[in-house]
Subunit: 487 residues, 2 copies
């Protein structure tokens, strides 16, 4: 990971770090007025004691590179005295952009996931050892030179991959030709493309609440408002309520996650699906069906996708390879009316000129591979074991603190505590103790009682350790709350 | 390519086509009110005579699936009588999207490039036989299971790839650490990310005129205005003029393509570069340096990039693997101040969750490969041959019609005709005669006299044939113009 000071060099560590930071400043990587990362962060980054960082910073201050500010911050001053003219103040630019930054929470999670050895209790991906790495290495190794290409991709994506996908979709009752399929870099890009291509700024769309969509800013940044509809794990969706909201807010679309919903794990039943498609046609409320977790059933196959009940092109269906096979491959697909697909493809061409042909080639070979079914069966078996184990752990450590419902598939258990908690504090304390959690307010800003747990990523040992730590932290917090109330 | 009727089946071709189109309509791929592609398009798509298409459409009309409209259009009517309710009118949605569709011209070019055997005289990519396909197949074949991963990528991209890039950048006088580099899916995505992250809607940026940026809507769709500065192949950029425009329009950035400019092939000299960087710091006008063609020098190495003269973080530098190595890999990079890179990385995470790890892995191995230099030398040699040949052909066929300047590298020759031409008509006629051209008005809306020729894609034989056809078409057009003036 990046540069680290070398313990075997003669030059002392603090001096090495001073020189490194000087170079970064002199080259403009840390420009004038940049706020330097905290001492704690730098110490962890360079893997040294905090005192070493303090020495390095003192050096930099003495040489006029940075200035310590009251309150602990340190800012770059280099360049101020040298030039007579305004230096680029990128900070101002950064604040101007129309795309919202990620929530600080999610930024932190993104960082911690790559920087620290934390037990990840909420991460939405399969553990690396469940991904078919060996198989993919074989698929790559046996790449036939005549079979893949290095040139640009077609606007809708490699036609052979689209054919392979349309074949797989038939198994799910979705009959479609390759020209109604668009290859994208995962479902998230699909959402971004449709927000740019099909919705005007200030459009309103319906989402379940809580929803994964609250955790990404693709729609909000395009000026689109999310209207939430309460969604319980155990009750079917109220069509009446959908209709009320549709009329009240002039809704453009309904974004639904009917199969092993993220974050609650809820599963829509067959009758519920049929009713939703029928009624959405009646109401004129098109549906975006995000099916990311569809193949991750544990107890039994879920009902067919909404798209399979749709003969009018009402449903835009999003699929992905990220959840079962490889998040890193960045291959997903959108199925819908041909004109819609063409508009999305056109926007995609202007956004990134199409998905990687190398990825598409590997994805195609995977879709056609005989290992496809085998891998799915293996992952489902392992997920069952993991889900059951997490359930067992929850009963051990959390039964007095919270309730939860066991999902029939997907990655997540939505844990609802008996009382509100300060999740910002818990998150911070958790990181200190070596665990990373995904608080419910990421998926519903008003939520103060829930947590998205995932049994997909951490190992069984880690789950045990992590949940024990978490329970202890929460118990302490509860004790503290009680004490404060007593005082 | 997609479905085609089968000549060896008993069912007649028109009937097969009728059934295929019925299925598409019944499943909602062609929804109610969709305009069906033209007869000519369908005939080419299914590779049948136009009369076969006419029979199929007559069948569909008789069965109530479509309706012929006055003027030749055909629209889907299926579904109208069946439901009592409004069907989703995606057409309306498509028109609402805030992202502009591609110019019809570019849409057509994108389509034709994949649909027809046309001689591509303006395409901005290397011919497939110049791309290192065999080498890439080897890189993939020797993939080491322990060396790549299938999980999500870090926000800034694979750190080993960023290290490999920072090493290569040193050869160009750019000293930077991996934490100031962001991996993107090519320069186009970089432009999109910065338009979303650093610029407010209604911001104005300076671009050379003509410019490749006029051909993509990434900036315009984000509400950003392009202000053009006339750029001649042979004269240095006027700093005075830049300053005037900066003050007049309150410009936020200057997007520059200093090395083998797209579309004119212009090359900025060393002194010009130094002056531009110095003055942009003085004026407070940050620079986006798009260096896509930098490695494609033919006669001699170009001066060092603008970024190498920049010690204050004034310049955001965009690099790509698309032009020299593989457009399909979708790997590029942005180098800039760390805070800016982090903001762009955050937006990228929200856009597509990072670039493909498989692509990044192959790209990293390429960057570190000993074949890297060899391939560059080979492509440069071949480009020289191609450029010289195109120059020869231009002299043969175009010397009485136009002027042009020979570029010292890159892909393009900018041909300026002695008189305005109707390029819309020429484009259409060209397609009929088997050639695909890139009219100058794609890169400068007011342009009526120029053409972007590319010597990178078509074979020498195709160049000869294609330019001959083009010259003939233009001569006819000129004759016609003269006649009309005479009448």
């Amino acid at each position: 990971m990046d540069w680290k000071p070398n313990r075997y060099e003669e030059k002392p560590l603090y001096k090495q770090i001073t020189d490194y930071m000087k170079r970064k400043i002199e080259r403009g990587e840390w420009g004038y007025d940049t706020k330097i990362p905290s001492q704690r962060y730098l110490a962890s980054w360079f893997n040294v004691n905090r005192s070493t960082i303090v020495s390095a910073l003192q050096n930099l201050i003495a040489e006029g590179y940075v200035e310590g500010e009251y309150g602990g911050g340190t800012k770059v001053t280099y360049g101020k005295w040298e030039k007579q003219s305004p230096l680029p103040n990128w900070t101002a630019y950064i604040e101007k952009g129309s795309h919202y930054p990620n929530q600080p929470f999610i930024q932190k999670i993104n960082q911690y996931e790559f920087e620290k050895d934390l037990i990840r209790l909420g991460t939405g991906e399969l553990s690396a050892d469940l991904l078919p790495k060996k198989l993919f290495q074989q698929l790559m190794s046996s790449a036939d030179e005549t079979d893949f290409h290095l040139g640009y991709s077609e606007p809708k994506g490699d036609v052979q991959l689209r054919e392979a996908i349309s074949k797989r979709l038939r198994e799910k009752g979705i009959y479609t030709t390759p020209s109604s399929i668009l290859i994208v870099s995962g479902a998230l890009q699909a959402i971004q493309l449709l927000s740019l291509s099909l919705l005007e700024r200030s459009a309103r769309i319906l989402v379940e609440r809580p929803s994964y969509l609250y955790s990404v800013n693709a729609l909000q940044s395009a000026g689109i408002k999310l209207i939430g509809i309460e969604r319980s794990m155990n009750k079917p969706l109220s069509i009446e309520k959908v209709e009320q909201l549709k009329n009240r807010f002039d809704l453009s679309l309904f974004y639904v996650n009917p199969t092993f919903h993220n974050p609650t794990g809820a599963l829509m039943g067959e009758d519920e699906r049929k009713a939703l498609v029928e009624n959405s046609i009646r109401m004129g409320l098109p549906i975006i069906e995000d099916s990311a977790y569809e193949d991750l059933w544990i107890d039994e196959k879920p009902p067919l996708p909404l798209k399979s009940y749709d003969k009018s092109g009402q449903v835009l269906y999003l699929g992905t390879m990220s959840k079962l096979v490889s998040p890193g491959l960045r291959i997903g697909w959108v199925v819908g009316q041909e004109g819609v697909i063409e508009r999305l493809a056109d926007t995609k061409m202007q956004t990134d000129y199409g998905s990687s042909t190398v990825s598409q080639y590997v994805a195609r070979r995977w879709m056609l591979s005989e290992k496809y079914e085998e891998h799915g069966a293996y992952v489902r078996k392992m997920l069952k074991k993991r889900r059951d184990f997490m359930q067992f752990l929850l009963e051990c450590y959390f039964s007095h603190l919270a309730t939860w419902t066991i999902p029939k598939g997907g990655f997540y258990i939505w844990v609802v505590f008996h009382f509100p908690l300060n999740f910002d504090k818990l998150f911070k304390k958790g990181v200190e103790k070596g665990i990373l959690i995904a608080p419910g307010h990421i998926y519903d800003r008003l939520d103060r009682t829930s947590l998205r747990l995932s049994y997909s990523y951490a190992s069984l040992e880690e789950m045990d350790k992590g949940l024990r730590i978490l329970a202890e932290l929460i118990e302490k917090e509860v004790l503290m709350q009680k004490k404060e109330n007593k005082l």
